[in-house]
């Protein structure tokens, strides 16, 4: 086994929290259950990692590079790309052909790369690329990850720090998948599953429903409301709840951590206040962040911190599949290009 690979495995195991090592090795799936049984998890981490390296050397497979995938699961920033097809023909997807073309395109530009593939049950193909330079071996500690669902035109990329390799990566993807073009969507998050939910429309969407009476047993109280207040403003609360449902839908929201708006709109004020009346836009950059942004926004109106319905700039995030916006003024409403 290559010296650098052994070192990579050793260092990666050392980074794992002690009580999670066994679980992560199992998820990794590279070592067999029998091999895992032979490991003593109660010794020093140094020794555990040495034993893991020794076991790996015995294995003929080379997908050991996905070991670091589970550690940084939620720390990686994922971007979404959409590919465009050249024609209408539905071609049969051949995974072997895809891999060959992908590797070929990248290797034709860069010799020092490590490319590994892994297929998962949900039709997701994971590609891990470790980048080097003409004079340096691939850096195994800053790989790029690509997740491609072959039945869809979407690709999820976690580029890592080496952004200069992005164009090559994108090119290799369209060549390998027989698409014509690829563009980055304005959608980013740490949660890959939430991005998939949004783009594959797997969240519960907001449909206009007409309900003349509130559903029985429906709790309209906001989470933090005082439990002693029962009947206050009941109709107002119900109205807010209904409008919130219409904007956000009933089910759980996809998990995003932030949304960013670049505002290039005019500053409008009450003429009586006699303040700024410029003809140029009032330039702002607004960033929302939260461990669970959409649920957070959904809770604002019931708590009185926002009007209901909430602004479409916020409620459109899921169905427009974007969380980066540039807003310009257009007559009476806002547009985002």
């Amino acid at each position: 086994m290559d010296e650098t690979v052994a070192e990579y495995i050793r260092r990666t195991v050392l980074k794992m929290p002690r009580d999670e090592i066994k679980m992560m090795l199992q998820k990794w799936g590279f070592l067999s259950e029998a091999q895992l049984q032979t490991l003593n998890f109660h010794q020093q981490k140094d020794n555990i990692s040495q034993e893991v390296v020794q076991l790996c050397e015995v294995n003929p497979l080379n997908s050991y590079f996905f070991l670091d995938n589970h550690i940084y699961q939620n720390k990686r920033m994922w971007s979404v790309y959409q590919m465009k097809k050249s024609g209408e023909e539905e071609e049969y997807f051949d995974i072997a052909d895809f891999k060959k073309k992908f590797k070929g395109r990248i290797r034709s530009a860069l010799k020092n790369v490590t490319i590994t593939f892994k297929e998962y049950e949900d039709n997701a193909i994971w590609i891990r690329v470790a980048w080097g330079t003409p004079h340096k071996k691939p850096n195994q500690y800053k790989p790029s990850y690509v997740v491609y669902h072959s039945q869809t035109p979407y690709v999820f990329i976690s580029a890592s720090v080496l952004k200069s390799n992005l164009p090559l990566l994108c090119q290799a993807l369209i060549v390998a998948s027989n698409y014509r073009d690829i563009r980055e969507m304005e959608l980013r998050s740490h949660s890959l599953n939430s991005l998939k939910d949004i783009v594959f429309k797997r969240y519960s969407q907001n449909f206009q429903t007409y309900s003349p009476k509130p559903v029985q047993g429906w709790n309209v109280e906001a989470e933090n409301a005082d439990r002693r207040i029962v009947h206050e403003n009941r109709s107002v609360k119900e109205r807010i709840h209904r409008l919130n449902q219409e904007s956000f839908g009933c089910g759980p929201q996809p998990k995003l951590e932030f949304a960013q708006y670049r505002l290039d709109t005019m500053f409008k004020s009450d003429p009586k206040m006699d303040v700024l009346d410029k003809k140029e836009p009032f330039r702002c950059l607004v960033k929302f962040s939260s461990p669970h942004l959409l649920e957070s926004l959904k809770s604002l109106a019931p708590l009185g911190m926002a009007d209901a319905p909430l602004s479409p700039l916020l409620t459109c995030i899921t169905h427009k599949a974007r969380n980066y916006f540039k807003i310009r003024e257009k007559k009476e409403s806002f547009v985002s290009p």
């Binding site: 409008k268 006699d274 700024l276 950059l285 939260s290 604002l300």
Partner: protein, 349 residues
């Protein structure tokens, strides 16, 4: 909200016109050489600003040796208010340094070690900052520095600065006027470095000079004063955005909102709000904030006024509600320190 003509009240409610005028006066005048400066008008002086006359003739910016005050800039300082020091003698700085050094060594012996691992010799230096004061009535600033020289290395090695803290009074006459002899007023204390060193230095000063330190939190109201004032200052080069950070911590999923405005646009807005030259009123600050809230609400339908303002940041300086500031521009250092001195004094009184 009409702009008031009477004595303006600062964020602490105290009569505040002198300081506001001084701050505004400093803002209006670009830092050219002394001869070209114009003095504030007699109208401003006549309202009992006799204390300011010396500083007007010797404008604070010129007095400030850029090199001596460079240590202040671009560092995050934690703020404290300090009650007047009893029995402090400016001539005894060397003795104090020795005593503080011995105190720190003794505390380490007791097992209250600040640094685990490498044995450190802590060297203490106290010095006066003659330039860091507003008027002749202010005490000169006092700088305390803790450096280390590792015992392992030879005498040739450089001392490493571990911690610095400085006491200061910028136009703090409201406090010093009313204080008996033998008390030294330096109400503002700023620290940079490990909390454990701050505790050591603080407890020595408390024991020696019978004073009291308290963390200086900055309320959302004071933060809004700061951002309004600082947004209005002129900066030659392209400045960073005027940013306000709001927090809604008590939601089931806490929400943070960063609202950053292009500095030219923020200044343009403030210039139309601030009507009286040389004076800033609470009403004007409130209007400025309301404008920002209204612009935000127009887009997002969220009431920013219901959120907590936790941090403001401009090209001049930034301030956090936990009492942490960073000053970026030496030109406006006196103005910022003056505001902070005011806050410290109001916490003491």
């Amino acid at each position: 909200m009409a702009a008031r003509r009477g004595p303006a009240r600062g964020p602490t409610g105290a009569r505040f016109e002198r300081r506001r005028r001084a701050a505004a006066a400093m803002a209006e005048e670009p830092p050219e050489d002394g001869a070209a400066r114009t003095l504030p008008s007699l109208r401003q002086l006549s309202r009992g600003l006799f204390n300011l006359i010396p500083s007007v003739l010797f404008p604070p910016q010129e007095n400030l040796d850029a090199q001596k005050t460079a240590f202040v800039l671009r560092k995050a300082w934690t703020l404290y208010s300090v009650t007047p020091l009893y029995g402090f003698r400016r001539g005894c700085l060397r003795d104090y340094a020795r005593l503080l050094s011995a105190f720190i060594a003794a505390e380490k012996q007791k097992g209250l070690a600040v640094e685990v691992g490498v044995e450190l010799d802590i060297k203490v230096a106290l010095s006066s900052l003659a330039d860091l004061r507003g008027s002749e009535l202010d005490q000169a600033g006092l700088l305390v520095q803790l450096s280390s020289r590792s015992r392992a290395s030879s005498r040739n090695s450089e001392d490493k600065l571990l911690w610095s803290g400085w006491f200061c009074s910028m136009f703090g006459d409201d406090l010093s006027e009313n204080v008996p002899e033998n008390f030294t007023c330096l109400p503002l204390f700023l620290t940079h470095g490990a909390e454990s060193y701050t505790a050591l230095v603080g407890s020595w000063f408390q024991k020696t000079f019978d004073c009291c330190f308290r963390r200086l939190a900055i309320s959302p109201l004071n933060l809004s004063w700061m951002v309004a004032m600082w947004a209005g200052y002129k900066l030659e080069r392209a400045a960073s955005a005027v940013e306000l950070v709001f927090s809604m911590p008590r939601l089931s999923h806490p929400l943070d909102i960063s609202y950053a405005i292009h500095p030219e646009d923020a200044k343009a807005l403030w210039d139309t709000v601030q009507k009286t030259p040389g004076e800033i009123t609470q009403g004007e600050v409130a209007i400025f904030m309301d404008c920002l809230y209204a612009h935000f609400h127009r887009h997002f339908k969220i009431h920013l006024s219901a959120a907590k303002l936790v941090k403001v940041s401009t090209g001049i300086a930034s301030a956090h509600c936990d009492g942490i500031v960073k000053i970026l521009h030496s030109q406006y250092l006196p103005g910022v320190l003056m505001l902070l001195t005011e806050l410290a004094i109001s916490q003491i009184q």
